[in-house]
Each structure stands twice: as C-alpha cells, then as structure tokens.
Symmetry: C2
Subunit: 436 residues, 2 copies
C-alpha cells in the first residue's frame, strides 16, 4: 500500500477501505507518512467527502492510535457531553457537577478555544490554581474521589487526532463533517465512556450556521458513536445569540456558579438542566428524560451540585473559595458600554462577531501560542426580541487594554440588528433531538 | 497575505490574483511556505482547476523563480520543441540536429523518463560519455559552437518548478492541465527561446488518452506562450501506437541516427520532418511550413544534420563513433519473441502497457532514484492495420535479466488487439494543429 495511491483514490472520488484508512492514520502518527501527503489527502477528503463507513473507520483508527481509557474500577456508568462550541457556552462547568452529584462519573477531556469560541480548559484556568494538565493516573484518582474530572487531551489520548488537527488548522481543511466527527468522537470515545450527549450548536455564533449542516454533523456523530456500541444522542441547540448573559473566562465561571446556586439566566439554566437530564437518562440514572430533569433540578436545589464543584476544584488544585468570593477570579480594570443607536426590537444578533470582539480584547486566541486574558468579558443586556431604546446599554465591555477597544466596540455595535417590530416567533433553545 | 487563506480561497473555488500566486510560489521556493501547505493548495488546484489568467500567472511566477537565459550574443532565432511524452518518441534527437544544421539555435532543456515514457536525457546518456549536466556557461559555449545543446534542468532554471514537481509527484497532483502547462512552459521559456513547437501526444500511449484533453492542454500552453510574447504552435499527434519501430534508450539513439541517414521508419521520419518544418517556420528560416519541410529534407539529404549530430555529441563529451558503429551503444545480451496468438489484423495497441513492460525490464524507472538499463529495448514488428498470422512475431524483446521477463511478455502480448478485419480508417499522425 502506498500513500500516493490512496491520495489519488480519494482525489478521484473513490471510497477507501478500513485497511487503507488505518494505513494512512497509523503511518502518519508514526511519522512514516509525511505531513505533505497527509495534507494532500485531507484536502481531497475536504472536497470529495467521506461516506459513513469511511468516517467510522477514520474515527476508530484515530481512537486506537492511542490509549483508550477504562474506568472499570469505578462502579456505575461513565457519561460525558461534548459541545461544538459557541459564544458564552459554559454548560460543561455546570452539568459536570450536577451529573457527578447524581451518581454518574464524568471523565471529561476538553479542548481550548479557537477563533470566536471559548474552550472549557481556558475557562477552568480562570480559577486560580486550577490544573487541567493531570496525568492519566491523577485523572483516575480525581474521578474516583469525586466522580468528575476535567482535563486536556494528554499525549496518550488519540495522538493521531492531535497531529491531524494541527495540520488541518494550517491547511484550511477544518470545516468538514467527516473530519470534525472523527476528531471529536475519537477523543470522546477514548475517555472510556458508556454514553455521550452531543450539543451541536446552530446559528450565527456556531461553526455550523445552517441548521441542516448541524443536523448532518449530529447525525454522523450519533451514528458513529452507536456503531461503536455507545449510547449517543445529539441536541441541536440555538446559537443565534450568546448563551447566558456573560462571555469571557472569569465571567463564565461566575455565571456557572450562579446557575449551580439556583440563579443565573434562564436560557443557560434551562439548557444545562436539559443536557444533564439526557446524561442521567443515557447513564441509566433515570428511566426517562423527564425523571433525569427532576434529578438534575434536585442536585441544584439541594446544593449537592455546588458542593461537587467545590470538591472538583479543590482536587484539581484550584481555589474553591471563588464559589463564594467571585472577586477572587481575575477582574478587568476597566469597563465601557455599547449603546443602541436606534430604538426598536433586537431582531437578530451576529453572534460570531461578539465572539471575535471578545477574542480581540484578549479573551481568545488567533494562534495557538497566544496567551488569554481571563479577566476580559462581555455582558449582554439584550436578547433577541427585547425592546431597546436609543442610547440604552446593549453590551458592557470589561477590558484591560485600549489596544483594540475601538475596533471591538464597532464590531459589537454592528452585531445587533434592531428593527421596528419584534421577530414573529420565538425559536426554541433546543431545536431538534437526533438519535433518541 | 497568509498561505492558509489562499488555500481556502482555491478550495472554495475562488480565483487567485497574480500577487497571490506570486506570494505562494516565491514563498514556497524560498522555503517560507512549508511542503504541507503547498500540497494542500496543489490538491485544491487539481480538483478546482485554474483559469487562463491563473495559469499564466503561475507560469510566470515559476519562470521568474530562477534565471531566464538570454542568448543575445548568438545571432538568429532560438527555437525549441517540447513533447508531452510517449513510447518510442525520440524526435528531439533528430530534429535538434536538423534545425541547428538549418541555421537556427536549439537550446534544449529536457527531462528524464517517468512511468511508461522515455526521456531525452536518459536516451542521450545511452551514448558513452555523453554529459547532459553542463553548467550554464558550458551550455552557452556548446550552443555557440554548434547551434544545439541538450541538457537537464539546472539549479538556476525554474527552481520553483523543480520543487513543485517533486511535490506533485508524491501527492497525486500531477495530471492537471494548469499545473502541467506551468511546469512545461516555465522551463521552456527559461531557455531564452523566441519560438516553441509543442508536440502534444494523444492516445493509448500518451498521458492524455483522449484527444479533447490533449487539445485543451495544447490550447492552454499555446495561449500561455503567446501571452508571454513567444511564437508557439502545438501539433496534436498520434500516440495510439509506438512512434517508430524501436523503444529503449540505445535502440532509440540508433533509430534516430537511421532517420538522419535518410532511412528509418516512415512515421518517425515524417513526424520529425514535420516538427522541424514548424520550427523553421516559427524561427523565420522559412516563409511557410512547406518551405520549412523542404529545408528539413535537405538537411537530411545532404548529410548536414548527421554531421551536426556528430559535432553535438563530441562537444558534450560523447563518443560520436556510435553514428557509424552502433555496436558501440550498450547492447542487451538476450532476446526473446512475443508472437501473435490468433491470425487477423492489429486493430488496436495498448501502447502505455508497452512502455510499462519496457520499464519493467529495466528500461524505465518507478522511482526517481532507480537506475536505467540503457541496453534493453523493444522492437515492434506490427503496426495498427497490419496483417498478423498466428505464431508470427509481434515484438522482439532485448533484455539483460530474466527477473520480470515473463511478466513483461504477458503485458506485451496483451497489448495487441487482433481482429478479423482491419480498422476502417487510418488516423493521421498529426491530428490537429493548434495556434497556427
């Protein structure tokens, strides 16, 4: 078998066998197939596509390129959630403690933010002392002790994905359903989970702007997970506006704590409880999603989830006092307001622009090497369908440097579409459920 | 400007500007853009294509990546011919002496064989002592002294092409009209020529099997050459069967000498004279192609072309005695026959297979590093429309090693399609002329 022939085959719209995909992935991971051949193959894949069997084979090849965890020493089911990312999407910090408090184990391996979206690891690092770089042995110990652990991708987990993802990033081969599915699912299945809830975002702040694209990705990921014997469901959820009222790392930790205290904004609370409900259901802690929902609500109401968060933070070296003393989180020195320029109703939000503005202020990275300012953030005062008066606050910007403030302000101001009348219908937070 | 954005642009069917193409080619040549980004871009180009303006920009960027020769110290026009390659295609060895004898200068920079096709440099190296690796200074001296010089691509000539071609070879991005055109034309235009005759092969032994594809390539190359102020014409010529009676390096040198002595097979003689005629016409040594043809015939009949060949060989360090003593060329130790299995008429020849069989016997290379056996060869006894009796010789194989003999024999035998009746019509050797 030769890489050059497999590149040609995909280029010419051929379908690769499991053996051929294994050959490419394992050869590339071992360094026997050079970057340039993988890059040509990835571009051919991006343009020609992969069928379901090829996606499954690619996912498995990437999964077995490294260690696949097993937590058989921990009783009960292991479940996780993965989100495709958006602006203000902080549900991991909320549902992990809820679900762990409810008696399931959540071995969560997360990623960092890129482009306009935030990443769970970066948010956790806003908590002073929090260490996301645990060894697998430490990760297991934390899981055993409190039922939840939140770490980054280690060298042992899906090394093929790590290498391929880095290459995709610099060769414009990121946005492809098959490649995205294999990347996400190989990492998630390596966690040693029994069930997975996928939160596939759709709308102006998601990577997939069109609902049909989100559904297609969800569909492929659900099928791939099920082929590998996992219980998987995907919720297609709204990202036409930020989730919650706050974006930015410290701010999102704060808002997550609020939800675990039974407060916080309705949309964020609702989605976090819904995702937790599905995790309880798939993890067999509840006979129905409704029962799961009640269990989730109970974990919040009794304070058990909040207690779990405290314990989780402590076990990973973080300062758990932030739960009650949020001023211990990094604070921005300045704030500025973006006000409405006309009166009317918010009819649409260019949500990706808000994420880009936040990144511009230091709250995201353009390149992998960039450092993040955990203190900067955006506070959203208006949601779609809200009445806004001319001069009224739309967004409060929390910032540390004037460098790109003007640019960010302009971007934020232009993100809000204000019309004379409110939008006709309210679109639900959870648009569709795939694979249930 | 960032390479990753230009890759995305082409991936998404965009059209790149001259500046963008320059950025990619010069950045890659200087080593600032890595192989993997170029590979992804090449695959996007292979699949999405390049328009005429992009092809012209790519050709120019590759041309000016290195030195562009000028032979202003040599009086008269400089002309060259380029063939897209086939089996038994040895016209360069014939027309260079004819055209140089007729008073034009032929600064020919040639390539090596790859796959099923032979290359001029390899054929020349069958002549004991012949040195194709002249420095540019030596090349100029040879050109001044005898009006013809035949060398390989030096480091100074179109280095971008050298680097890009090597990458295309291992990333399955070879067969694309725009990339082929830029590769050929950047090298040929760097020779410092005024006019160029393109011999674009079509048929079962050509890289382009379909006439429409050959025409498209010819059309693009002619346009690109004309855009850059050169006189260019392309002949679409038959490669449904080998050109001449002999293939293999020593054998092709021998057959070329035969043609220059006024003998040799009709098809080879005819095409060599026709190409020479066009070179004389474009190089303004003849007022018409017919007049050019008569001049070419005269150069052969008077022995002036043969004398030019002798001189050219001597100037490049070769043993000119091979002209009269062909036994001085490398000789194969053994020969074997492939006979017809049924009686009838040769209705078709899978010509690429014959080239592959020759390569298999050591007369070609699979990888660039492979050594060539100049002595092995094939002698073709039957052409399309010829009557063949069962048991009659089709091909004589000249070989040195039994290693792949059986395999080569089978391949050769299966290359001949013998039918009950002769094909209805004889297809002309020169199918079409583009750009005249």
């Amino acid at each position: 078998m030769r890489a050059v022939d497999l590149i040609r085959k995909k280029r010419d719209c051929g379908v690769l066998s499991r053996e051929e995909i294994d050959f490419l992935v394992s050869g590339y991971t071992r360094g026997e197939i050079p970057d340039y051949q993988m890059a040509a193959w990835l571009m051919a894949v991006w343009i020609r596509g992969l069928n379901r069997a090829e996606i499954a084979a690619l996912t498995e090849a990437m999964l077995y390129s490294g260690e696949v965890l097993s937590h058989s020493e921990i009783p009960g089911k292991k479940v996780d959630k993965h989100s495709t990312g958006g602006v203000g999407d902080k549900t991991s910090l909320i549902l992990a403690p809820i679900v762990a408090a409810g008696g399931l184990t959540v071995p969560m391996i997360s990623g960092r933010g890129l482009g306009h979206t935030g990443g769970t690891l970066d948010k956790l690092e806003a908590i002073p002392g929090f260490n996301v770089n645990l060894s697998l042995a430490e990760f297991r110990r934390v899981l055993c002790e409190c039922g939840m652990g939140l770490i980054g991708q280690t060298a042992e987990i899906a090394p093929a994905d790590k290498k391929i993802y880095a290459l995709r990033d610099v060769t414009s081969t990121v946005e492809n359903v098959g490649l995205i599915c294999a990347s996400i699912m190989s990492k998630k299945l390596a966690e040693g989970i029994d069930a997975l809830v996928l939160d596939v975002k759709t709308g102006s702040g998601a990577f997939m702007k069109k609902e049909e694209d989100s559904v297609r990705l969800a569909d492929v990921m659900v099928e791939t997970g099920k082929r590998m014997g996992k219980r998987v469901v995907a919720l297609i959820t709204d990202m036409d506006q930020p989730l919650g009222r706050l974006a930015g790392h410290s701010h999102e930790v704060l808002e997550s704590v609020e939800v675990l205290k039974g407060r916080g904004p309705e949309d964020l609370r609702d989605l976090s409880l819904e995702l937790s409900a599905w995790m309880f259901f798939l993890g067999e802690k509840a006979k129905s999603v409704e029962e799961g929902r009640r269990l989730a609500e109970k974990m919040v109401a009794t304070g058990q989830a909040l207690e779990k968060l405290r314990r989780g933070i402590r076990l990973q070296g973080g300062d758990e006092r932030i739960v009650d003393e949020p001023e211990r989180l990094p604070q921005a020195r300045f704030h500025a307001e973006v006000a409405g320029q006309t009166s009317g109703y918010v009819s649409a939000i260019h949500c990706e622009q808000l994420g880009t503005a936040l990144a511009m202020l230091g709250g995201g990275r353009e390149k992998k090497e960039d450092k993040i300012d955990h203190a900067v953030g955006l506070e959203f005062h208006k949601r779609i369908a809200d009445r806004v008066e001319k001069g009224e606050k739309l967004v409060t910007i929390h910032y540390n440097s004037d460098a790109k403030l003007a640019e960010a302000k302009t971007l934020i101001a232009s993100s809000y579409v204000v019309s004379e009348s409110a939008p006709r219908e309210k679109r639900p937070l959870v648009r569709r459920i795939i694979g249930a």
